[in-house]
Amino acid sequence: MQIRDLNSQFFRGVMLVAEKDMRIYYAKAPVLIFGFLFPLFMFLSFYLGREIDFQIFFPGLLAMFFFFTASSVGPLITPWEKQAGTYERLLSFPVNINTVILGDTAAGMIFGIVINLIILIVGLVFLNYNLNIFGILLLSISILLGAFCFSSLGVLLASPSSSSPSQIMMLSGLVRFPLIFISGIFIPLENLQGIGRTAVYFSPITYLVDIFNLSFRGESHIPLIIDFTMLAVFSIIFISLSNRFHKRSLRKGL
């Protein structure tokens, strides 16, 4: 088998894993609850009863939704498949662990993009942003990169060798919620001080919020190149760690 055939087999595997995930897991209750309802209620609890300029708040809100939706599919898939006994079947197909990781990441990414495109369109219609071509280009690239980054975090959260979806969802909540609070969504970056100001740089959401602020409102606190580089670096770290954890669980037993 030629290298080109092997590459096409690899990409076909990635697409098939993603397609399988979309068919089976998008409609599962934990994905809808943690991916859609949760950020919605979080936003409502923050927004209702306060006087907030929605035009200023929208980029952060969009980034928060992106984070929750794109990272909600990944944590569910592997433990669910281990519990149902389908993980072994999946791995018996002509795939390797990277096929599965990237397929699961693609499924989360597509879920995040589809849901948030609706929110984005609603925002653009009602909030009168004047997006120029640069802003649209910036928004498009950052949406793709941000969705990939958050989705790969979701896949990483599913990597511990557990066959209990509830345990992984709990772990996922423990990791995801603190990241929201240190990302400049609820408190703008310029108002943060001391340890809070340092902590924001450890959250990938910070960089997407910053790019969204630049796209929608022309304001940014971090150089654009750093924003994109950091999202890429976080993605590489999440994918590499997922690969390492999954391989370790293959060595230890399924």
Binding site: Q9, F10, K20, R89, S92, P94, G253, L254
Partner: protein
């Protein structure tokens, strides 16, 4: 070239050596049975052979391809029915088969025809569009087998394929295995069912405590244990088996439903004694069989004996 070549394969889980430097080959077109008691290392071995587990050391070649170096290429040559490998219950029977085939690069059009034909063969055509969650265990396993054979693999790995199934499903799956083999597919089968291995396999390998204790044709393995012949007898009413054992002609006895099975080194003497015993006690003999050593006897000896186990 062999279909499967295993050299010095080893796998440890913590302090436990699940598979301990095993080596064997399976020829192309062969049906090879892999037997062993629970926890002997069968599933660990098959998982390593199919690329699901990473060995600690040793080499595995699938049709000449090193599975550790070229996992996808090696997997393209095989179909796998894992022991715990369920199918997707949220998908229909046909969707499961089509999804499996697409992983092997078969076109959707070809798969549509193949899936229908397999569903017909497995008696599931009428239920092809029902979600698998509504199926019985036997029906699910049939979909599982259909999904594994849809790419017409060169090598088919089956881990306990008939375990816990009804008789019809067991027969159907065994017939499929034979059919696949007649078409040239190499079969690697692990099973608890010794009789199944006896009927299907050209050679069997027996693993115990992570080590291969024997590899041979079933009939040759049985002959190794010829001493353990037995006489099976059933009278018109149940008798006390110890009355026969007292004769000293039977080394051990076993009650099998309405029959007694007496193990002996000298079946001729024991048969004559049993006939005389029936006459003396005014018993009618319903059935009497002299049985050679079975594969099960060989298996028990090989896996119980300290010489082989350690």
């Amino acid at each position: 070239m062999n279909a499967i070549e295993v050299k010095n394969l080893t796998k440890q889980f913590g302090d436990l050596t699940a598979v301990n430097h095993i080596s064997f080959e399976v020829e192309k077109g062969e049906i090879f049975g892999f037997l062993g008691p629970n926890g002997a290392g069968k599933t660990t071995t098959i998982r390593m052979l199919t690329g699901l587990l990473t060995p600690d050391s040793g080499d595995i070649f699938i049709d000449g391809v090193d599975i550790r170096k070229n996992t996808i290429k090696a997997k393209m040559k095989m179909g796998v029915i894992p022991e715990m490998g369920n199918i997707y219950v949220d998908l229909t029977a046909k969707q499961n088969i089509i999804m499996a085939g697409r992983f092997y690069g078969i076109s959707k059009r070809e798969l549509d025809k193949k899936a229908d034909s397999l569903l017909e063969q497995f008696g599931l055509y009428e239920r092809k569009n029902d979600p698998v969650r509504t199926f019985s265990k036997g029906m699910k396993q049939r979909v599982n087998v259909a999904s594994a054979i849809v790419p017409d693999p060169e090598i088919l790995f089956l881990d306990e394929p008939t375990s816990g199934l009804d008789v019809q499903s067991q027969r159907l799956i065994r017939n499929i295995i034979k059919e696949m083999n007649q078409k040239g597919t190499t079969i690697f089968l692990t099973t608890h069912n010794i009789e199944e291995a006896n009927i299907l396999c050209e050679r069997v390998g027996i693993i115990n405590k992570g080590k291969i204790v024997a590899i041979d044709a079933p009939e040759r393995l049985k002959r190794t244990f010829d001493k353990t012949q037995s006489v099976e007898i059933s009278f018109h009413k149940m008798i006390d088996g110890s009355l026969i054992e007292k004769s000293g002609l039977a080394s051990r006895m076993e009650k099998l439903g309405d029959k007694w099975k007496f193990y002996t080194d000298n079946p001729d003497k024991l048969t004559k004694y049993l006939v005389r015993f029936a006459e003396d006690q005014d018993l009618t003999i319903i059935s009497m069989n002299i049985c050679g050593a079975s594969l099960e006897d060989a298996f028990v000896k090989l896996t119980e004996s300290k010489d082989y186990a350690d």
